[in-house]
């Protein structure tokens, strides 16, 4: 083997003290594997919850928002340019629906960032079966589009969602509603709208999301049917749901859509602020834990190198007497740190991956969560390696510098 002489000396010191070398490397290994494992677990769960939130919420929701009365409205109403003072302004009920929704949909479909778009009518209703009444809301949708965007099929526990288009006057209800009203596929359900309209509908499917409040209140019907139930015309749409190719750009695209349409476009981040807050808290906890682990691993290396230098101080003096410069001595000891880091790093990467893989096979079986959601994300491995090597270099630097400052005469004189 042909190495630089510094490297050769570093390796000899490492191999002549195998036990200490292995202990130090084990510290690094532990740090790196925990780093990978915890990052994978966190990203896995975060991704899972993010995905889960998208089964109910679109990336962007476009709707018309009530506004507080202002001077501009008053001037338009009075048709003059006078300055009025408004005392105690109130929220104004806008027509609630969107004007020309299908025009907006057609226009937005041309946007390359949008992967799915569907209009929806929502109305508050009361479900009745026998003598039991249950408040809830009915969503009028194009069920095939809805399914493409939100995987309604994945939540179906009975019946078929496609029957919504095949069977007249049909409805899909949440499992909570079905249980409370003891309804099965094929049964009839009475739906009463806020305006007093009363219709009897046929249950063609039952769905269960993991969200209880949804399952207890929500139902799907054809958009045209819901429009007529709540007494609105065919152009009445309460919101347009939009999914993007890259949901991380939701807030940017939402702002674009707002300026184009003039309606309120709410992105999923705003709609799920507590989810994001949860992510942040978990990230802080995780990073503290990782920081502590790496710190401990760093101290291990620092200690062991310090001990080596204490033991080898005479040899360092001899090397310097023979013409090794301070820089050469630094390099000898820094290289020992780096070798420990690389050894611990490689084993740590493997161990981290194995641990992540093993845990990802643990069966959980809670709701739609069958296995622990672990992500296998290459940047985690690169980050872990980088942090590991940085820690070892930082931990090795101070002992190495101390070694380089050894004065050969003082030591050799004894």
């Amino acid at each position: 083997m042909k190495f630089n002489v510094n490297t050769e000396i570093a390796l000899t010191y490492l191999t002549s003290r195998k036990k200490q070398t292995l202990v130090a490397a084990a510290g690094v290994m532990f740090g790196i594997s925990m780093f990978i494992f915890m990052q994978s677990l966190m990203k896995g769960t975060n991704d899972y919850f993010e995905k889960m939130s998208f089964t109910n919420t679109p990336h962007i929701r476009l709707f018309s928002e009530n506004k507080v009365a202002d001077n501009h409205m008053l001037r338009t109403f009075l048709n003059d340019a006078s300055e009025k003072i408004l005392i105690n302004p109130k929220q104004l009920q806008q027509s609630q629906g969107l004007t020309n929704p299908y025009g907006i949909v057609a226009q937005l479909r041309r946007n390359k960032e949008i992967s799915g778009i569907t209009p929806q009518v929502t109305g508050n209703v009361i479900y009745t079966s026998g003598s039991v009444e249950l408040p809830g809301n009915i969503a009028g949708v194009d069920i095939e589009e809805e399914n493409l965007m939100f995987d309604v099929q994945g939540n179906m526990v009975a019946g078929s969602l496609h029957d919504l288009n095949r069977v007249q006057n049909s409805i899909l209800i949440g499992k909570g509603i079905a249980d409370k009203l003891s309804l099965h596929v094929g049964d009839n359900i009475t739906v009463r709208a806020g305006n007093g309209n009363l219709v009897i509908m046929r249950v063609v499917g039952i769905f269960a999301t993991t969200v209880r409040s949804v399952d207890d209140t929500k139902s799907y019907a054809n958009i045209a049917r819901v429009q007529s139930i709540i007494g609105k015309d065919r152009s009445y749409v309460t919101e347009i749901k939009i999914n993007l190719k890259d949901y991380n750009r939701a807030n940017i695209v939402a702002r674009e859509i707002e300026t184009i349409t003039g309606y309120k476009a709410e992105d999923w981040i705003k709609a799920n602020e507590q989810l994001k807050a949860g992510f942040k808290v978990r990230a802080v906890i995780l990073n503290s834990v990782i920081g502590v682990i790496l710190l401990v691993a760093g101290f291990g290396i620092y200690n062991i190198l310090n001990m080596t230098i204490y033991e080898k101080i005479k040899e360092i003096a001899i090397l310097k007497a023979q013409g090794f410069s301070g820089r050469a001595v630094t390099s000898i000891f820094l290289q020992q740190a780096v070798f420990i880091g690389i050894l611990g790093g490689i084993v740590g990467l493997t161990l981290g991956f194995s641990l992540t893989y093993m845990v990802s096979r643990i069966y959980i079986g809670a709701g739609s969560l069958k296995y622990l959601p672990m992500s296998f994300y290459i940047p985690h491995y690169l980050e872990a390696l980088m942090f590991g090597i940085l820690t070892t270099i930082a931990a090795g630097y101070f002992p190495a510098r101390k070694a380089s400052k050894v004065d050969p005469v003082t030591i050799i004189r004894g």
């Binding site: 005479k314 001899i318 023979q322 013409g323 301070g326």
Partner: protein
Amino acid sequence: MDNIALKASGINKYFHDPVTMQVLRDINMEVHKGEFVSIIGKSGCGKSTLLYVLSTMDTDYEGTLTINGTNTTGLSLNQLAHLRNESIGFVFQFHYLLPDFTCLKNVMIPALRLGKYSYAEVEQRAYEKLKMFGVEDQALKKAGKLSGGQQQRVAIARALINDPAIIMGDEPTGNLDSKNTGIVFDLFRQLTVEYKQTLITVTHDEDFARRSDRIIEMADGQIRR
């Protein structure tokens, strides 16, 4: 001028611990290329201290030191390290090998540091040096496993590996029997004659001193003669 290997002028050195005392007093000396010089004197008179100053390892002194025409006083530590590596071979009073390395490696390390020869050439040369001192059969043993006398001979071989212009020894034969002392002396003599290498050795061995070219006698931090 160009015949002078080493020149020290007005060297004074003090130790401050526990109390300030002067160890070297106004040392002036010149050593010619190819000269074989012995330094003798009572224990504690400052021989080792002087040798450390002459070897450039100790930079805490007054006066000037010139080696091969280069004024070394005031050079940086890195420059001095390179100078030692290339031009000075040093044999310590207590042999001082690196115990984790084989004898061969111990001899090779200064040459690998210098980087003048390839690894294979260095290995070859190190082997020859060990052979000169009759320890080639110990080449692959860990240095820590050798007897004192064997270690000393390996240490001398190591001092010669870079063909240094000046070889300094602090009682280099202190641990050797008369037969091996004879071998080492003859070798030193050969180096000065054939290769014009300069030798400065501190010794207690009167016979060894008498057979060298010149004796410098020290007493109480001064050169007597």
